[in-house]
Homo-oligomer: 279 residues x 2
Amino acid sequence: MKRMKRIAIQGEYGSFHDIAAHLYFANEQIQLTCCATFEDVFAEVRGDSAAIAMLAIENTIAGSLLHNYDLLRQSGTMVVGEQRLHIQHCICCLPDDDWSTIVEVHSHPVALMQCRSFLSNHPNIKAVEADDTAGSAAYIVENQCHGCAAICSADAARLYGLKILEDSIEDNKHNFTRFLVACHPQKAALLRSLAEVDKSSIVFSLPHEEGSLSKVLTILSFYDINLTKIQSLPVIGHEWEYLFYVDLTFDNFTRYRQAIDAITPLVKSIKILGEYKEN
Amino acid sequence: MKRMKRIAIQGEYGSFHDIAAHLYFANEQIQLTCCATFEDVFAEVRGDSAAIAMLAIENTIAGSLLHNYDLLRQSGTMVVGEQRLHIQHCICCLPDDDWSTIVEVHSHPVALMQCRSFLSNHPNIKAVEADDTAGSAAYIVENQCHGCAAICSADAARLYGLKILEDSIEDNKHNFTRFLVACHPQKAALLRSLAEVDKSSIVFSLPHEEGSLSKVLTILSFYDINLTKIQSLPVIGHEWEYLFYVDLTFDNFTRYRQAIDAITPLVKSIKILGEYKEN
């Protein structure tokens, strides 16, 4: 019998991480470990090499989650998959509350920001920061917070038995989040087959020389490797050093590995965050 | 007599935009127009071609402000300068309040996020989202909100006569924000001399072809142009299209302009956001 997979997520049951985890592992039985922070998510994987981390890495509106890139790079885990999720927020409250009784709305700061126009159209409702979207819904139910609403997914509202006052209140309807699935490197082979791999996430730093980035990208292009994302980040505390986070796609895995070998002598440092199947 | 410059900022007197504006225009008399949103900042410049916009564009912790990139690209203004600012937050309250009486802390969601560790060490203080850091301080004074603290700069706390409970409460001490100065294109020549220009911000899109980015970067390197930032962004609603926001530095302005001419036939679209002196 296949053992149930344990997935560590940031947030509560019903959070977007929960939804993304169930989408990614759609045909399997999974068990969630809900963590307060992304640091805790990686601590779970360090503590139990069979645990799998699921973490948001970028959003079409909010951009890259730089802190998660940082944690991922230093975690010693390996990325084995990705999942895209369309983010839709609703506002919900206890069944006997209504628009006329709501004075506060609780949610994660990013969710509050993504509903800015909605909130500015309801100036009498005070926005209060919480650790989690679904956690705000859970909090309202547990503490029977009358007069309080939460911003979360409609799934979370239903899970906690809250009444949806309005759905799809996000400002921008093209709101997608990309999640990465990461695990202990020794477990990677169990979670994805190299034969299916057509995407890779790498991070490298460059010598402080003119044209060093163009050399690396030219070599990648000679090896028929596509870039789907590139982002430079200053190394905090080192004024002139940059890290480049790059996502690559390719048809031929051997060619891709040869390309990595070919760029390695030209970079200062390089780390493969993971090789996986594009979603 | 030189006319006083009018600077449109997002936020209140004492906000980080205010501090950045006074740093950038250190030797000049300026008059601030405080706007609620970045949209309003650009509307000010559209309404009065002599007005100058000052806007945050990236932060070492929070990353790029993608929405501001978007607004800037579509604003019809031209970037004429940049200003870096070390961001330090304090927590402050009315003079007769104290740690024992504080139950809420108000601030901008990004400031709240930058003080996460501090806030989690004070679980009995509820974090409440506001439009602005300095605005939260102003609000507390105007409404004599006993039991409420604000997270803002120490300058703002002093400006509004609040008591600083603790200074430098930000999680990461290497917290820098980069601001851009933008104005009507016809006024650009009044605000910076082309002889001093050694930096440029451009945005381009590429044909969906392998190696198109490496070609562009290779040409830039042949012309001795340095990259200090590169960020790809998916075009919202167009799955396979990307915009590349790139900052360039150079010694020779003519060479730089020739490089732009040389890459133009290879890109799908290109826009120079502005040419200015590196800060």
